[in-house]
């Protein structure tokens, strides 16, 4: 069954439609693969075997009955455990939600169910999506399929690793400062952060409401477009949801055309702090795009250098408020200290025991940034920087149709390497954060392996708000040019995973 799990979602959906393979076979193949390798990867916090097979069987029956089915019906998918699902646990990677089951489905999950995509399970993440390495999960780190001693990125390391390790053809992630794109970069997979509001956030456990966005994780650009069209579109349950139609994303990915397009290289997102092997692969990608008829221009976004700082004020501020609800009253963990404590003391003890260090750090930082006397200097100023970043983007998109940069400054680092140095950890997101601050869409795709360590490098494309289609149009071209130089998908070069059981 090895070939089956190596198929792209698009190829699998065609085989399903042609009845060359059944949904149950495909789903079982992925469940077998999870069984075989996830002991080594730890991408899944929960495997949803029975329900996934039941949904798959339903698809097979419907197909036999001649029902009209969604193209992705029967194509399995993994869901980041930050997104609530009825009938399965949702933990957000935190002890504080251990054992909790949502009584409702996230809007994106409803859409997956409507398309009849079997949900394989819930994937690991940094606790409440706070991290860039998935080491901040309360349930142990996820490992990078390219090197089990290295991090798979974060916070969506579980989704990216699951797709990279062929444990799922598709996955959902969430991206607040790069949590879809940076794991995509370091695992050699594709990840897309849609335009803010393009995909409903209803049912995605909030970290920073004005930055969070759900998006697709896949092995090909086209597969992300297919999934993006399933999950995108207006949702009346999310007040920040756009009413614009999702757009012809799949068509853009199939068309894949860059001739005459202007592609802007962001001056500030390269150079110092970027690994040499990352920059080499990045420049090769620029050459390929140029060869395909794109015009490469340089743009300057001078305020991007403040983006990380502003992000680390806005994100924790919103998070400190969003995470106040975890108090041991209505759901989740309750810790009762000795004696006959008051509810205040129960809340304090519950949150002390239920949250990990990084979550506490961000809650305290956010509480500080919002507190009396500091608001204007910190939160208020960060919001102004946000305006400046938006202006930089606006000016850059005057000169270019899409922007391009490395997704992350380095390849995957070793587990534990940056765990005790929060500032070093935060720097991983320096190139991905500006898109969240401005709400514009971004895509990361594999750009090859860095010479010095043989690990995947990510290329990031950015488009103006609501112009997500451009990402797929350019991404598909670059992907096919790169795969031509590699002689096949990058993941074909990944090592065998051993020691899984």
């Amino acid at each position: 069954m090895t070939e089956l799990i190596h198929l792209s979602a698009d190829a699998l959906s065609q085989k399903l439609a042609a009845k060359e393979v059944s949904a149950v076979e495909a789903t079982q193949a992925y469940l077998d693969r999870i069984d075989a390798v996830d002991g080594a990867i730890n991408a899944f916090l929960h495997v949803n075997t029975d329900e996934a097979l039941l949904v798959a069987a339903g698809v097979d029956k419907a197909r036999t009955d001649g029902d009209t089915l969604h193209p992705l019906a029967g194509v399995p998918i993994a869901v980041k455990d930050l997104i609530v699902t009825k009938g399965q646990p949702t933990t957000a990677g935190s002890r504080i939600l251990e054992g909790w089951q949502s009584p409702y489905d996230a809007t994106v999950v409803r859409k997956l169910r409507a398309a009849r995509m079997p949900i394989l399970g819930k994937t690991n993440l940094d606790e409440f999506a706070m991290g860039s390495s998935t080491e901040h999960s309360a349930y142990g780190p996820t490992r990078n399929p390219w090197d089990l001693d290295r991090i798979p990125g974060g916070s969506g390391g579980g989704s990216a690793a699951a797709v990279a390790a062929f444990e799922a053809p598709l996955a959902l992630g969430t991206d607040t400062g790069g949590s879809i794109r940076q794991p995509g970069a370091v695992t050699g997979t594709v990840g897309v952060k849609p335009t803010y509001g393009g995909v409903s956030r209803y049912g995605a456990i909030a970290m920073a409401s004005s930055l969070d966005q759900i998006g697709p994780v896949s092995r090909t650009v086209l597969d992300s477009a297919l999934l993006h069209e399933v999950i995108g579109g207006h949702d009346p349950h999310d007040s920040t949801s756009l009413t614009d139609p999702v757009g012809a994303l799949v068509e853009a990915a199939r068309l894949g055309q860059v001739e005459g397009m202007r592609i802007g290289v962001i001056k500030e997102l390269q150079g110092e702090g970027y690994q040499a092997g990352v920059l080499t692969r990045f420049h090769e990608s620029l050459d390929l795009l140029r060869s395909a008829g794109a015009e490469i221009v340089e743009v300057s976004c001078p305020n991007f250098r403040y983006a990380l700082s502003a992000y680390y004020l806005i994100m924790p501020s919103e998070a400190s408020s969003n995470l106040a609800k975890y108090d041991g009253v209505r759901f989740g963990l309750r810790v009762v200290p000795e004696g006959t404590p008051t509810i205040e003391r129960v809340m304090g003890a519950t949150r002390a025991a239920g949250f990990g260090d990084e979550v506490k750090r961000r809650i305290i930082l956010g509480t500080y940034a919002l507190s009396a006397g500091y608001y204007d200097a910190y939160y208020g100023s960060a919001q102004k920087v946000r305006t400046l970043i938006q202006r930089d983007f606006a000016a850059a998109f005057e000169q270019a149709d899409v922007l391009i940069s490395p997704t992350a400054p380095t390849t995957a680092f070793k587990l534990g390497e940056k765990l005790d140095d929060p500032l070093a950890m935060y720097l991983n997101d320096v190139a991905t954060i500006p898109a969240n601050m401005a709400g514009v869409p971004g895509l990361s795709l594999p750009g090859g392996l860095a010479d010095e360590d043989g690990l995947p490098v990510g290329i990031q494309l950015l488009a103006p708000a609501r112009k997500d289609a451009r990402l797929y149009r350019v991404g598909a071209v670059l992907e096919s040019l790169l795969e031509a130089t590699w002689g096949g998908p990058l993941l074909a070069q990944a090592p065998e995973i051993t020691g899984g059981k």
């Binding site: 209803y202 909030a206 408020s321 108090d327 009396a372």
Partner: protein, 504 residues
């Protein structure tokens, strides 16, 4: 809990030395069908934790969506308070932990309320008009309901645990905040009551709230401070929370003025704190002092987008506003034909709307006034509640009146019937039946009783025969006594005169 009794100065003495400064925060619950940010029903009295969606419990992943009708209600209240309406305003999060607050923040408004800079004229009992300036009216959500268990009479003090019902969590609230009210002097308590009554009248008249204080639809936090006569600078204020009847507002303001005066007289500064009102002792006790824990870390609610208004929208809503209360009063007085004095009494008794509803239900303005200013006001005074809070409906009055007019019962019996209905014994007709209250209309037993009464007072009978018809009252009284009030007094009089062969 032992009640701490504070020293108080007599009100008159306090008024000789100090000028009171008042301020009010009135919370009005809107009567929308659904909550402020979720589609759960906005309903009172249902099974706990059933009028809830995941949003109202603050479950992980949920998002709020604004109720458009609530926004329009807020704008209407702003217009009725002669406020300016914000061109653009945001929702904001007010962060604090409390178990009745599902997200541990209240979604409210902060820097830019939807309505601001208004004023209303408050008419006091003697016709004096006092202008109260409105600082702002903003939109927010209510909290859930806590019930304290295991302690004394449901109090939070001494409770072993508490139970939370989130049915009320998320109910739309409009918080109306006044600017400091100076210059009311000794009329401050009266003005306080009249202000809250006016707000209640306005929102009820707008149709945006049921405005039932006994259900918490209108809740008042009263701020009081004193400044020595002649001093410009305001004193330190206290905020008495949740004063939830008109009388209590008056009493609480009066009490706080007296208490502040005693504290200031003793040379101690007033502590800025919240106070709790106790209806039983008609006094306040110390709540929580202001502390650095009151750092609410407001910031714009990122999950909600701003409200942007325009002239066309505001003018459309202005056109939908009902007649303003002052004009309404003028019209009602004319319709009902009450004298100025009669009408003012009705207004002061707080029964104008009740009379309006009762007239609409089908009795004459005179009959409606007789009930609301008579028996119902009397009972309200005894129970120390507002007449409208007794539970007497216009329909009940119509039924009682019909029973009287048909001669089935008389005025006196109607009070017993009212007792029965209020005690839950059924409809007026059912109560008449069950209590055996019907007027004795068969002349037979009446004649028997009349003969008895005449025989018992032969001298009176003689007087009547001799033409002193007014003496008949004594015989009527005897008959009524003998029939335990269940006779129609008019018919009894007729029969007595007939019996004695005298012209009425």
């Amino acid at each position: 809990m032992t009640a701490v009794t504070d020293e108080v100065l007599s009100f008159d003495e306090a008024m000789e030395k100090y000028d009171p400064v008042l301020g009010f925060e009135v919370h009005v619950e809107l009567n929308t069908r659904t909550k402020m940010f979720s589609s759960a029903p906005n309903a009172f009295g249902d099974v706990p934790n059933t009028n809830v969606t995941p949003v109202d419990l603050g479950l992980p992943g949920v998002l709020p969506v604004v109720n458009g009708v609530a926004v329009e209600s807020a704008i209407k209240i702003g217009l009725a308070l002669n406020c300016r309406i914000a061109e653009k305003c945001y929702f904001a999060r007010k962060n604090y932990f409390y178990p009745d607050t599902p997200k541990n923040f209240q979604t409210s408004q902060f820097e830019d309320p939807i309505a601001y800079d208004g004023s209303i004229d408050i008419e006091l009992a003697d016709g004096t008009v006092f202008t109260v300036e409105i600082e702002r009216a903003h939109m927010e959500e209510d909290a859930g309901k806590l019930t304290h268990m295991g302690g004394a009479t449901g109090r939070i003090q001494g409770a072993e645990f508490s139970l939370v019902d989130y049915n009320r969590a998320g109910v739309p609230l409009i918080e109306i905040v006044t600017k400091p009210i100076v210059g009311a002097g000794s009329r401050a308590p009266e003005l306080a009551k009249a202000y809250v009554a006016a707000i209640r009248e306005i929102v009820k008249n707008l149709g945006v709230s049921d405005a039932r204080m006994e259900r918490g639809n209108v809740r008042c936090d009263a701020n009081v401070s004193l400044k020595p006569k002649g001093q410009e600078k305001f004193g330190t204020r206290t905020e008495t929370k949740n004063v939830n009847s008109l009388r209590a507002v008056e009493h609480a303001v009066r009490y706080e003025i007296q208490r502040h005066a005693a504290v200031l007289d003793s040379g101690t500064p007033i502590q800025q704190e919240t106070r709790h009102w106790h209806e039983d002792t008609r006094s306040t006790t110390s709540g929580r002092p202001k502390s650095d824990a009151d750092d609410y870390r407001y910031f714009p609610e990122p999950d909600l987008v701003p409200v942007v208004t325009n002239d066309a929208w505001i003018e459309k809503l202005r056109a939908e506003l009902p007649e303003p209360p002052a004009e309404r009063r003028k019209r009602l007085q004319a319709d009902w034909g009450y004298s100025d004095a009669e009408f003012r009494d009705v207004v002061n008794a707080g029964v104008m709307s009740s009379i309006e509803d009762t007239v609409a239900a089908g009795v004459s303005a005179a009959v409606a006034r007789k009930w609301w200013m008579g028996e119902i006001s009397r009972r309200a005074k005894l129970a120390d509640v507002e007449p409208a809070e007794l539970g007497v409906t216009p329909e009940l009055i119509v039924e009682l009146n019909a029973l009287i007019e048909s001669g089935k019962i008389n005025d006196k019996l109607s009070r017993d019937v009212l007792d029965g209905v209020l005690a839950g014994e059924g409809t007026p007709a059912e109560v008449v039946e069950k209590r055996g209250l019907a007027v004795v209309s068969d002349d037979g037993p009446l004649l028997e009783a009349i003969d008895g009464a005449l025989a018992a007072q032969p001298d009176v009978a003689d007087k009547i025969r001799g033409g002193k018809v007014q003496a008949v009252g004594a015989i009527v009284g005897g008959v009524m006594k003998a029939t335990r009030g269940q006779a129609d007094a008019g018919r009894v009089r007729e029969l007595i005169l007939q019996r004695l062969g005298v012209e009425g």
